[in-house]
Amino acid sequence: MLSFVLRKGLRAGLTVLLLATFTFFVLRTSGDPAVLLVGLEAGPEAVEAFRRRWGLDQPLWKQYAIYLQQLLSGDFGQSFVGNRPALEVVAERLPKTLWLMGVTAVVTLAIGIPLGVVAALRRDSWIDRLAIGVSVAGLSLPNFVVGVLLILLFGVALMLLPTTGSETAWHFILPVATMATGDAAVFARFARSAMLDVLNQPFMRTASAKGLDRRRAVMRHAVPNAAIPLVTVFGLYVGRIIVGAVITENVFAWPGVGSLLVLSVETRDLAVVQTIVILVGVTMVVTNITIDIAYRWLDPRTAEERTLG
């Protein structure tokens, strides 16, 4: 177990380092923030002064070394635009995004998984067909299309719900609905096939043979087994929901990290973009480790394989 944690930790650190390096070089080589921020009309002296101030006049490798050194000491750099620590800028926006993602995840799972389970239990019934139909529709519509459609319907035509901002609970409805439709459909599909797979296993027949009625057999024996493949899907979902949040926040002007990211890329606010990318990277790495651990906990067979090698 110790070696497992050790290996995972090393690999995770390396992943984040590679990510930070990649973002650093891509950002530095794809546009000049000084020109963009100071403006061409300000004159070469002003641009040069900006460069000197932020260390952009140094050779690239030196900038990189300084960046890494800062990063290791927990300093994520300064925002050019806000003229304060980038971490602070991001942290300010984070709660809004976490709320959006959290509520969306809960809604997605709460709709998708039960829908899939019920569809599997009543295979070929109207509810199963409906679930499959809805999930195909949900899968084939991209987030931003759903978002725009919802804005047009509920915001513009019916004028029932707010379409920008994040002040009240009402503001959550449209962004969450935008992000949850497609992903709930994905979960419904996976939950359905995982359940069907498990329901056909001989041990389900054993559960009935030993005296469990169908409801209890499903709850005690089918659900824990069907959860195993869903854990993998959840890992992929965390990546999807981050991308979804970036798009959705921009469509609905949600003041979170996603809209900050797009804004910062536009203004070449290097430190902020890098901070966000590292944050996302760390989230993904932590998710993957959590899922590995969850897997070992849910399925004793995988734990065995890994320890034996």
């Binding site: 041990f203 043979a209 030993k210 005296g211 009625d213």
Partner: protein, 321 residues
Amino acid sequence: MTLLSIENLTVSFDTPHGAAHAVRGIDLAVAPGEILGLVGESGSGKSALFLATLGLAGPRARVRGSALFDGTDLVGLSDRVLSRIRGRRVSMVFQDPASSLNPVMTIGRQLDEAIRLNRQNPGRPGSAAARDLLAEVGIPDPGRRLRSYPHELSGGQNQRVMIAMMLAGNPDLLIADEPNTALDVTVQAQILDLLKRISRARGMSIVLISHDLGVVAQICDTVAVMYAGRIVESGPVMDVFDAPRHPYTAGLMASRPGTAPAGRLMPIGGVVPSPFEQPAGCAFAPRCPRRRAACTAMPPTPVAGGHWWRCFNPVEAAAAA
């Protein structure tokens, strides 16, 4: 006296191609403490018969007829009522022990569940009762095994665990569906031995479903031979093995190395009829070497009791012996 009395039972499955007839009218009686061997090849309906009767054959199964178990007709009971009979009065053991146990639960938890479900008064605390059961089915070091997962045990041990679990409710009848087919030869023999020992010790009846006549010869008291959803011959094992009267039973014995006389095996030509067809006469007639004109009609159901067969032109007793 009978424990289970099945009368004119039919089982069919709804499929997109129409009804598939698995069991086409069966009469069968199991006496208390008896070990009955139900023999047939794949597609004969031998497994579907009991799975459907106990409500384990899935939502597409249609069961008609009656199956009186200790005075209660099992046909048509709801899942909830049947679930109180399963495990407590009638238990079932299946072919593939490894996949018949829940892979993510310890042996101990699976046994405990069966004990708590089926005993109003467990008597001893759960784990002690589970240990007793494992000891009864011959698992060494039962205390340690309770904490194991099924993948950590061999096939034979898993089948023993399965049997222990099905004994938890003290059933009167155990249906063992090819309990040794997936196991190694030496383990097969041990599992049969165990079933016989438990049946005698507890006075529990067993229906042993198998494709292998040798297995029946090893432990059964009576035998019923199934073909295409019907019982074609039944009787005490000694009588049936001494003088098989139905041509199918005789054919099975002549085609099996071991029961066949030395020399050439006699395969049965032709194929099993499709479950979607409803032959008017004897289903075996198209493959039968003793077929006559009369065989296009259904042979009468003989009066049950003792050794009986369902055939217009049975093998002569002397010739068979």
